[in-house]
Symmetry: C2
Subunit: 343 residues, 2 copies
């Protein structure tokens, strides 16, 4: 069983998740040196369905073959348990059981179909799957927060090259998410406006960091971008909760996500990247604090952050939390606006 731990200085939770049956450095060396990229041994390809853990969800095409599968992660960081087992350890330290869930969304049966190569209709089915699984995971009251993310390329942490994304449900709301929620609430209390909506309105007026505005979305290079070509996809219409997205908004997002990843590919080639969905925590009330998270989250604004992994995180970043970015976001936005997109 994995566990969550927190020390008194950093006050951030860490997941200690030993890998069963492997010595830790074997595991690391393997992940570091050889992500599985050969289709003949890929457990996510058609015909290898018995190589994955339990199938949780599946989308079939008109011919009855699967288009998208959701399975449990083979090495889950967190798993279902009855008890969080929250406790103090040796006076200074907090721990709890590794309660949660860890799922993998296999985005296509085709080993090499990246999101820009898929049809808009297929990307829309992936988004439907995201919504379905987020809603399902949030039915469990232990799941305080669910992060949807994608690792593409070995430098971005992908151990398999077959296109997939992941969801991890955590038994706590991460501190950085909570900080963002509180910033948004404080701003709303002063201004009676959403801070993200105000940033969007200023940024679309200024224009210099806007990559694209269409289909109900704005794609921005953020003013204080930590990474070269870092982007955020914002819905123009205020909404704190991605799972309430309408059919029309899903269609718009499918087009925008495909086009934006296509722009990055057209300009930079097949680069490693991560994307993460930032959305409000689970609205299911906490025992003892029934209204707190519910009221906190309405001032939030969901968004997808895309993080190309072209620079290395090194000692300076670990020591200070400051990032060094060699590409001004205005230049990144200009180059991406000019990039030619296929399809």
């Amino acid at each position: 069983m994995s566990e969550l731990r927190r020390g008194p200085i950093a006050e951030k939770w860490v997941i200690i998740a030993p890998v069963r049956g492997k010595r830790p450095f074997d595991y690391d060396k393997e992940r570091r040196e050889s992500p599985i990229s050969d289709p003949s041994t890929c457990p996510f390809c058609t015909g290898k369905e018995d190589l994955t853990p339990r199938e949780i969800h599946r989308v079939d095409g008109p011919d009855g073959r699967w288009l998208i599968r959701v399975v449990t992660n083979k090495f889950p960081a967190l798993q279902s348990y009855d008890d969080r087992g929250r406790q103090a350890v040796e006076g200074f330290f907090d721990r709890m059981n590794g309660v949660g869930a860890h799922e993998v969304i296999i985005e296509s049966p085709n080993h090499n179909s990246r999101i820009p190569d898929l049809s808009v209709e297929h990307v829309r089915l992936i988004l439907d799957t995201y919504v379905d699984r987020l809603r399902a995971l949030m039915e469990n009251p232990w799941h305080r927060y669910v992060l949807l993310f994608k690792n593409h390329g070995p430098e971005a942490g992908a151990s398999l090259s077959h296109p997939h994304s992941q969801m991890i449900a955590t038994p706590i709301t991460p501190r950085e998410v909570r900080d963002g929620l509180e910033t948004a609430r404080n701003y709303f209390e002063r201004k009676e406006r959403c801070i993200f909506c105000d940033i969007l309105s200023g940024e679309t007026r200024a224009g210099v960091r806007v990559v694209e505005q269409s289909n109900g979305y704005v794609v921005l290079a953020p003013y204080a971008a930590r990474f070269p070509f870092e982007l955020i996809v914002y819905p123009c219409e205020h909404s704190h909760d991605f799972t309430t997205i309408s059919g029309e908004q899903r269609d718009g997002l499918a087009v925008t996500l495909k086009r934006t990843l296509g722009r990055l590919g057209a300009l930079l080639g097949d680069i490693p990247y991560n994307f993460v969905l930032q959305t409000a925590p689970n609205p299911i009330p906490r025992v003892g604090k029934p209204g707190y998270w519910k009221t906190l989250q309405y001032d939030y604004h969901w968004r997808i952050e895309i993080i190309p992994r072209l620079t290395k995180v090194a000692g300076f970043e670990w020591g200070t939390g400051l990032y060094i970015n060699p590409v001004p976001p205005e230049e990144a936005a200009r180059r991406l606006r000019e990039a030619e997109i296929k399809g």
Copy 2:
């Protein structure tokens, strides 16, 4: 000129440092794919002194040849300016000029001498150089914080394989450092004891996460370690300021640092790692707030954090700030205690 930027959500500063004369993706691709490891083209080797920028400091051996050189970084993230130019941009954003300094400490004339291979006397000279340069950089009142760090191996962000470390002086105290200072002060106000001293005393009593205790230092695998084999080297005697370290304490640290990096090498081979020195910010009083930082920092405790880079930081970590560590620190400490060290 580089600049510092900060947005209203993350509230963390970012350094935007365009590289002159290169298109940004050239620069990234180059750094990503080919760190300079060939001694014949290495600008840090003996005889190539004219390939480095201005020499700032130098330690010579008895034969008159240099043992350690300090030079300006060829691609400085921050540089000396007269004015911080602190201002608001478009209402939401903070910016200031990239005021500061960025130096490289070339630790040895020998291309392949890693710290465990050097004599204790030579490591002591490196520590002396650290102290001298930290003191010199803190004479400039714009330098609010100075981070000493080392990147070893391309996965840890090193673009040259010749052994070196770096210092960056920043015009702000990074938020994560400030949070640590405030945690330590709040604890001291309640308990009248240093929080780090209390952790050390608990950890040395428990023993399970202690790698070594000798020469005035404790080497610990922290309870909530973010990375496999992450370690912290603490001085047993309370001190907030590394630059006040005595000669005897420097000798002890030289032995401990050499032995600890030697243990990691004996167990895991020549792995990529970062180390960072965490010490109090510049004690020079700020205009308008003369006493604030000075009183804040006495409750701090300097330490060296060693971060092996065996796992990848991926979407989950970027989205939540939570880390997944496959190696329990108790197991890391046990294996490192048992590791055979040469020399």
